[in-house]
Every structure is written in C-alpha cells, then in structure tokens.
C-alpha cells in the first residue's frame, strides 16, 4: 500500500496565486469547517479560550516579506496545504499502510483506522502539511476535499475543495495537472508556476504563481521641467545672506543644497 504508484491517471491539485491572495484566512476556516464535519476524525481544538490554544489545521496562511535589491519591500501572503507530491516521502515511510496515494487521481490520503499515530510521516514531509490531531491522535492532512469533488449530492459549483470554493479573491484554483488543456496547466504556463523546495525531490503537484512584477514608476516629464526652488528674494534673501555671514556650518549646507 505504501509503495507509490508509478503513474496516476489524473493528477488533481491546486494552483495558488500569490499575487491575488489577500491573506484573509477564509480558506483556513472553510477547510477547518468542512473537514471537521465530514471525512474522518474532526479537526480538534484544545484549550481554545485558554492561555495556550492548539488545534489541527490542514491549511495555514503564512506571510513573508520580500526585499528586492532596488525596490520597495513586498508583502506576500502564502497559503500552504498538502501538495499531493508525486514522490510523496510521507507515504513510503508509513509502517502500517495507513498513508497512500490514489492511482486514479493522485490524492494522498490517510486511512485513519490504520494510523498508529507514530508521526513519522509528518517528520518526512518538508512542507509541514501533516498534523497529528491533538484529541484523536491520528494523522490529519488535506484530502483535497475528496468528499466534495466527487459528491453528487452537492450542486455542481460546490464540487471543488472548500478552500477554492470560499476564496473571495480567486487566488486558489483546482484542476487536473495530467490534462495538458486544464485550467491549472494554463495558469502555470502563463504565470510561470513554481514548485516549492524542488531540491527535496518530492515532485509536488500543487504549484504557486509568483507575485506579478510591480510597475516601476518612470517620471518621463520630470527632468524637462524647470526647477521649483529659486534664489530667495526680499526679506528671506536678506536673512539668507545675513545668516551666511555668521560663523558656523549652516552656510555651507545651505549653499550645497542650492
């Protein structure tokens, strides 16, 4: 079971647009809500109103500051959930076969009734996508809302992961990476979608769209305009000259500025 399939028929996953994400955490809450009420053990919270609240989440939003060499700093909100890797190290380390990657769509899942809660899969994941539930003591991870995407009891527009459905800025896209004509592949091609930690060799399916380059403000007319400041006249002119005659540093500074 923990042997990875050499090929999956489909490669379902997400494209996350770091340019449009506003960092509202709606995806975090939608994910927590859906996955608490549906597939598997509920996502617990402990000491929720106490001094040290802790809980399991399958999706979390980080924020990073990027300081380019010659431009103002940028702030990027960075949602992170399971990347459903093709070469998923979390699956092969599992001693019980609870973790597996589905041949039909590439989704990485945990069969909770087989999980012994050893935590080794979370150690093997470089992305921090797996969290042990503090109450149920089984490993929780993103299921890509496997109980929504094929659920014929839901209206068709709801048959996508809860995080994608809820995102108010359209920063999350769901699709099949094995289909060359899919929406997700088009986005990746157009915007240069990136893999996280490619050097770890996990071959993640999910892709991130980097923030679009900021417009550089070029002032075309500025150099052609006459300077605004002029030689001081009248009372100010007299004061300037009078002050220049006094000994001290101010004279040189004011002359340099002119």
């Amino acid at each position: 079971m923990t042997e990875l399939p050499t090929h999956t028929t489909r490669k379902l996953g997400l494209v996350i647009d770091l340019d449009t994400c506003v960092g509202c955490h709606a995806c975090v809450i939608a994910c927590k809500g859906w996955n608490t009420e549906n597939y598997g053990a509920p996502l617990a919270d402990q000491d929720a109103y106490g001094a040290e609240p802790v809980g399991s989440f399958l999706n979390r939003v980080h924020s990073y500051e990027i300081q380019p060499e010659n431009a103002p700093a940028q702030l990027v909100h960075f949602p992170k959930s399971c990347l459903h890797c093709e070469d998923a190290p979390c699956v092969t380390v599992c001693p019980t076969g609870a973790s597996y990657k589905r041949v039909e769509d590439g989704i990485v899942l945990v069969n909770e009734s087989d999980c012994i809660g050893c935590g080794l899969c979370a150690w093997a994941c470089p992305y921090g996508a797996r969290e042990m539930d503090p109450t149920e003591k089984v490993m929780k991870k993103c299921t890509l809302c496997v109980d929504r995407i094929y659920n014929e009891n839901l209206p068709e527009e709801d048959r996508e992961p809860a995080c994608v459905r809820t995102c108010p800025s359209g920063a999350r896209h769901f699709g099949d990476f094995a289909d060359p004509d899919s929406n997700v592949n088009a986005l990746v091609a157009e915007r240069g979608g990136i893999e996280l930690m490619p050097e770890q060799g996990t071959k993640p399916v999910n892709r991130y769209l980097p923030p679009r380059p900021k417009d550089v403000e070029i002032d075309v007319l500025g150099p052609l305009l006459a300077p605004v400041t002029e030689e001081a006249r009248g009372f100010l002119g007299w004061l300037d000259k009078a002050l220049d005659r006094l000994p001290g540093q101010s004279a040189r500074a004011s002359k340099e500025r002119r």
């Binding site: 079971m1 923990t2 042997e3 975090v28 040290e52 609240p53 802790v54 809980g55 979390r60 980080h62 924020s63 990073y64 500051e65 990027i66 300081q67 380019p68 060499e69 431009a71 700093a73 940028q74 702030l75 990027v76 190290p89 092969t92 380390v93 599992c94 001693p95 019980t96 076969g97 609870a98 087989d114 999980c115 012994i116 809660g117 050893c118 935590g119 080794l120 979370a122 150690w123 093997a124 994941c125 470089p126 992305y127 921090g128 969290e131 042990m132 503090p134 149920e136 003591k137 089984v138 990136i194 893999e195 996280l196 930690m197 050097e199 770890q200 060799g201 991130y208 980097p210 923030p211």
Partner: protein, 290 residues
C-alpha cells in the same frame, strides 16, 4: 526535533541490548547455565524493554501490530520484523545454551548479524529523512551501530575491544557533529527555495499563520539545546567515552567496571538527547527559524 523521552530510551536501551546480544551470541563471555541466563536476561530486557518503550509515544499503540505490514518501503516496519527475528533467533540460541549446554555457533552468528541489522534499521528511520539534513547522512547509521557495539563490549566485559571502540566512537561522534553543523546549509533548502520567492529578493518570515503553537512547532522545532550545545556535547563525550576509557585503564575491579558502564549509559543518553534536540527540520524555514 522534539526529544521525546520514550524515543531516547528506546533507541539507547535497544541499542545497548542488541549490542550485548552480539557478543553473547558470538560466545563472549564464554558462560553457560545460570550465568548465561543472567547475561541473556539483561540483554533481552534492554532490547525488548526498548522496543516496548517505543510504543509509548504512539497515538494508538493498540494498532501497533499493523506496523509489520509495510516492510517493502518502511524502515520502521523493517525494524519491527528484524527485531522480532533477532529476539527469536537469539532466544533459541540462548535456550539451547542455558538448558542443554549446547552452543550452536552458526545460529549465534546469525543472531549477531541480525542484531546489527536491527540497529541499522533503527538508524535508517532517521537517516532516511531528507527533511532533516543533519540525519540524512551515513554517519547516523555508523554512529548508531558503533555505539551499540561499544555498549555491548562494555556490558559483556570485553575490555580489550571496548577500549579501541570507545576511541573510535569518540572520533566518529566528533566528526558527526563537525560535519552535521554544515549539512543544513549544504542541503540547499532555504527560505528562498521553501517559498519559491528567492528570485525576487531576500525573503523574511513576516508573520506566522497563528499566534500560538501547533503540532509542527512542538514536534519539529526545539532550540533549547543549541544554547548549551557546546557544554552538552562536552559532557556527553566525557561521560560516554572518556570516563569509561580512563576507568578501564585502571587495574581491573568490578566497581570500576560498573562505574564505567554507568558513565557510558549516562553519556549515551546525553548524546541521544542531543541527536534529537540539535536536529533541524526544514519545515522550520517556513516559520522563519532554522
């Protein structure tokens, strides 16, 4: 990584137990009857006790038997099988030796090999993890096996072998630290590759996803050791290797041997604690730590 007591005890105790079994199964010390019974009982208690303590950190120990199913890919599963095969083979060898006085040497050699294989499997649970560059190196397995054999030599009273082994372990441990301190940087995984944003500029973690802790921050980040790393490393080396070596240089007395063993075990626990506490997991980069 979080240094869980059950895992430190498991790896240290089972390593010592399997190390002692290696020597006992190869006929050293050459004992039979009740003396052999006591020696084997100590070895089985250490090895078996360690394995039992490893189940204490499981969320669902009642499902532990399922862990035997995935030996094709999982080192944790392989370790389970090897441990059982080792204890079974060594148990048969011990029973024949103790109750019938027959020493079946080929069986003993097989058990000794299985002991070493089991310690190797334990080490590979950690050494296989690319996510912890400090562990993802041959030195992890070499050190686990060398420590097990050294502990076995001390416990079985093989003084002439124990002394060079202590020196080898000292050197290997020192080399492992010196090299290990550079492995995270050499792995190429940085906050830039973790976010994929390094091409735009210098990336800095601005805000974590939440103000409290979570499973990841508790399990993967542990920084207390780094503050005192040098002192703890020195204490570990002194207790585990230097003290036993000096004690074995003295004229032989049982009390010195006992103190040497106790010092070695105490040092081993310090070293094993550091093994976990000093290990950096790459997920900490997402949280702006390393």
């Amino acid at each position: 990584m979080h240094p869980a007591k059950s895992i430190i005890l498991f790896t240290a105790s089972s390593g010592l137990g399997f190390g002692l079994l290696v020597f006992l199964c190869m006929g050293f010390p050459d004992v039979t009857g009740w003396v052999a019974f006591v020696f084997f009982a100590i070895a089985f208690a250490l090895a078996g006790g360690g394995l039992v303590s490893s189940t204490f950190h499981l969320g669902h120990p009642e499902r532990a038997l399922k862990a035997f199913s995935q030996w094709r890919t999982s080192w944790l599963s392989r370790e389970g099988w090897l441990a059982c095969a080792t204890l079974g083979t060594a148990g048969l060898y011990a029973a024949l030796l103790i109750f019938t006085g027959i020493r079946v040497l080929p069986l003993g050699w097989l058990a000794a090999l299985l002991c070493i294989a089991t310690v190797y499997a334990t080490s590979m649970i950690y050494a296989q993890l690319k996510t912890v560059p400090r562990w993802n190196h041959w030195t992890t397995s070499a050190l686990f096996m060398a420590l097990a054999l050294t502990g076995g030599a001390l416990l079985s009273g093989a003084v002439m072998l124990a002394m060079p082994m202590l020196a080898i372990c000292f050197t290997l441990q020192f080399y492992t630290w010196k090299l290990g301190d550079t492995l995270l940087a050499e792995s190429g995984t940085t906050i830039a590759s973790a976010t994929g944003l390094g091409g735009i500029g210098t990336v800095r973690a601005f805000e974590p996803p939440h103000t409290g802790g979570n499973y990841l921050t508790k399990e993967m980040f542990f920084v207390i050791a780094r503050k005192h790393a040098l002192k703890l490393r020195s204490i570990g080396l002194a207790l585990a290797f230097v003290a036993p070596f000096l004690l074995l240089l003295l004229p032989f007395a049982h009390i010195f041997a006992l103190i040497a063993i106790l010092a070695h075990v105490a040092g081993l626990l310090v070293l094993r604690w550091l093994f976990f506490a000093e290990a950096e997991h790459v997920v900490s980069l997402y949280y702006g730590r390393s």
